[in-house]
Subunit: 373 residues, 3 copies
């Protein structure tokens, strides 16, 4: 399965049709402010800033109209499969900006900004040389402008300038994936740090022409940190808190958008069998913190720094930095049955702020490797 | 010398015998809470959390019973030597959790949690394919549970689940070192960030089968940051301060557990001769901060990222990141006589928070390389 | 052009002659305090600390005598060119410490400490095996001691001990560049974090004997973070604020010493033509923060970690960490016309704290690569 001709919009949220004015019409109506600034226009987003009609803190407020959803956490296994194709292809991809309310943990409501209702946004998978026809939709019930920046794209703002749209509008752009690797995409309006903190990031994998090594499983994770006006665990509505973001001091640090999302205590752990292998795709949205990504009780057998899957991997790394605005790709072995905990090894983020995922390895004990009997 | 059949317990602290109930008996008496949780049990440490009988801040308090010691700073030269053996071996290793009071700097008392009374804990050194029979002892005068997580181990919690013991108890586990590298070990109870901050981390070196390159010296360092309720330098008892840890804003950042520990102003500098070589083993306990490890007046001739001593090194790196929960291995040359200062190049940690070690290079001036006359 | 026999002092600031007492005479007059401390002297800067006659916060204050200048932002193109020479050479380099007032953004005055009036300081470029005769001048109108630490130097303090001079004095030292790479130099007095934060850092490039790959452009950038007693954007004089530095919570994060310095909104963007190539030299002064350096709308075609230009590059990296006290070297391709934004991808530093540079790529649209029409 790949993303070809697939609308990645998830099911739970049914926004009304967003096919109103196209972005080009919108910009025309705006008087072409973006293009009239001469040299000023080379600050690509300065015009967009002028279009924000509410304060940053207010943009994070939950209103009676904000849709409620049960879950934003992306399913780590719900991703396109490896590419066996050896010829170029054109993909139709739609990313839908959705502002929703979901719980970070039991009793803690937060207004997430998402791509297609999930955090991280859908994984897009192409082959080097493929073309992507991208549509960005901003639902009419949203409160602010959105756009998208792909690190896999040569072009102003990585698509962001051309995809900036107000609620109820959409925009189209095409790009060729000219270089290989795993790359972040994220909202890049002037308040991009707040939008990414709220969940607006995902990954595009550009496979090298020869494809990737075979593995038994592939898992997809994203880390972002959330800045709120309450302490972690305090019940009630948590509103976005700008001073905490400026101080880079978050309330929550989350794997897939919720506290302990991918564990038995929330949406369930992942499961593999002993002697299988897995590839882990990790994107750090940030907006500010670097993940120190470590599998407790295991090791990264192979690690591709910055998601550069075409370079030679380093082997047996324990804790890999995945910078904000970057990706890591890792291969794992499972020689013993165990529960592996994926954490940010800046451990207060695990122990106090919610960052945890679990992979359960099934199979017979191997006491010559690990014996706790 | 290697660690075979050696009890790594240091001399200064004489705890009474800890051979009471074994961990298995302890868990049985606890009603098997750990195993009865079904899927909940896959959060390996949730049961242990229930056993913490005091608040995190209280766990850091010094009581009349907390043993006083003169020094926790590990001697960087007191480590097992390189392995020349080319056959597998089984090691008996004992790690003893010891909560002690020692000065961070003159007049500043702090309750350290340590392995065997030293920070970082003893360096353990094995060869890929060796087996370790590990005993974890929790002294009866300690105040809380402890355990250990080895990044060199395949198995739940990297041994942590199987070694969680209350004061006065011990636990045994066996593991094989199946992959090479330099890896951290650390306490991994639910409040692991507080325990590591207080000193509970060390390094296990798993040499590749062919061993390591020859050098004239080997030095062992560890960095951890301490969060207290006072300002750096303020005299008196410094108690652990949880809000500072949550904000990742420490009072002290220490090399080997004390301010300027390995300098003439405290326990003495290291000394080498010109034209010798040295290998530096560095473990960052954290729990939260990354070291930007730099030798002032020198350079890392070779650097193995993440302690991956089996990978090809990079050469002539100035400032290497050693993430919390990771290790770096470095090789140094000493072409001129000088005083080299080892620092975290996030320089306020050196200038304001105590992070400094010194290597004194003896020998004749070499004015064609460096001439300050 | 290289730096041979060139006084790097910039034009705008005309300090009176600094050829008073040499450093050696100065130290003699000080009673040889540095050398009399026995083992204490192995803390190379402890003597210098005693010479600071004012508090750290006061050292940051603007006085009526502090020279006002229009600009401290270094021109990214004003650097020595690549070295084609294949024989050793001796360079005469002068670094002048200048404390000046300049605006960080419109209406925001700050007292910068600079090398030769620019931030980052002048790029010095030599070939491995070359010798540098270095003079450090401390202008008489300055308020405190200064010195310089080169990461390219074997020797105590990387020159810092031998170049510590009070206002009105100068010092000379010679060193050979024995290993290749791009290295930071920075002031390294006891309050080095405050001095670097205020702008006292730059880069020395030590080319390998065979030189560097050919490119069409070379650009030079530096990042430092500024800690003040006001909020970003608040008009008026911003004084240095020590508690913010200790908390590593800056007011501004700057590329080349001013908000949006290398953009059309301040001193102008850089310009290149489509299909050209560029090499980017990036030095992170810090003192505390790591840059997550990313070119929005582009990618690092080749990246040399830690400035290690003699090692094999990694390819197609999106966001590279440049640690405080380190450098990165990057190669870029420009296949499409666009405005590339250079940012720290800890995005609040771009969105809220001023970190931005722009490269404008001129040429014909390439709709088969990027089509926003």
């Amino acid at each position: 399965m790949d993303t070809d001709k697939e609308d990645l919009t998830d099911k739970p949220l049914k926004g009304k049709s967003t096919n109103g004015l196209s972005r080009k019409e919108f910009m025309k109506n705006m008087g072409g402010a973006m293009l009239s600034g001469g040299m000023l226009a080379s600050l690509p987003f300065s015009d967009a800033e002028a279009k924000e009609t509410t304060s940053e803190n207010n943009a994070g407020l939950i209103t009676p109209n904000t849709p409620r959803v049960d879950r934003v956490a992306a399913d780590p296994t719900d991703i396109p499969g490896p590419i066996s194709r050896r010829t170029p292809k054109t993909h139709e991809v739609t990313l839908v900006a959705k502002e929703v309310v979901a719980e970070i943990e039991d009793g803690v409501q937060f207004k997430h900004m998402t791509w297609n209702g999930q955090v991280p946004g859908p994984m897009i998978r192409v082959r080097q040389g493929d073309t992507v026809n991208l549509t960005v939709k901003n639902l009419s019930e949203n409160t602010t402008i959105h756009n998208v920046d792909f690190h896999a794209v040569y072009g102003t703002g990585g698509c962001a300038k051309a995809t900036t749209v107000p609620p109820g509008k959409d925009a189209q752009v095409s790009f060729k994936a000219t270089y290989p690797g795993a790359f972040i995409y994220h909202c890049a309006v002037p308040r991009l740090d707040m939008h990414i903190s709220s969940g607006m990031y995902g990954m595009i994998v550009v496979e090298p022409p020869e494809g990737l090594p075979e593995v038994d499983h592939e898992f997809y994770f994203g880390q972002n940190e959330v800045y709120t006006d309450k302490e972690a665990g305090e019940k009630g509505v948590h509103n976005f808190h700008k001073p905490s973001m400026i101080a880079e001091n978050p309330t929550y640090v989350l794997l897939n958008g919720a506290k302990n999302a991918i564990t038995p205590n929330r949406y369930g752990a992942l499961e593999v069998d002993r002697e299988e292998t897995a590839r882990v795709f990790m994107v750090t949205g940030g907006p500010n913190l670097t993940s120190n990504f470590h599998p407790i009780g295991n090791v990264w057998t192979k690690a591709w720094r910055e998601g550069a899957i075409h370079n030679d991997p380093e082997t047996y790394l324990q804790t890999c930095k995945v910078a904000p605005g970057s990706c890591g790709v890792f291969q794992m072995d499972f020689p013993v049955p165990e529960n592996i905990m994926l954490v940010d090894h800046a451990l207060s983020r695990y122990a106090k702020k919610g960052m945890l995922g679990i992979i359960k390895v099934n199979g017979e004990e191997q006491p010559e490797i690990f014996d706790a009997s």
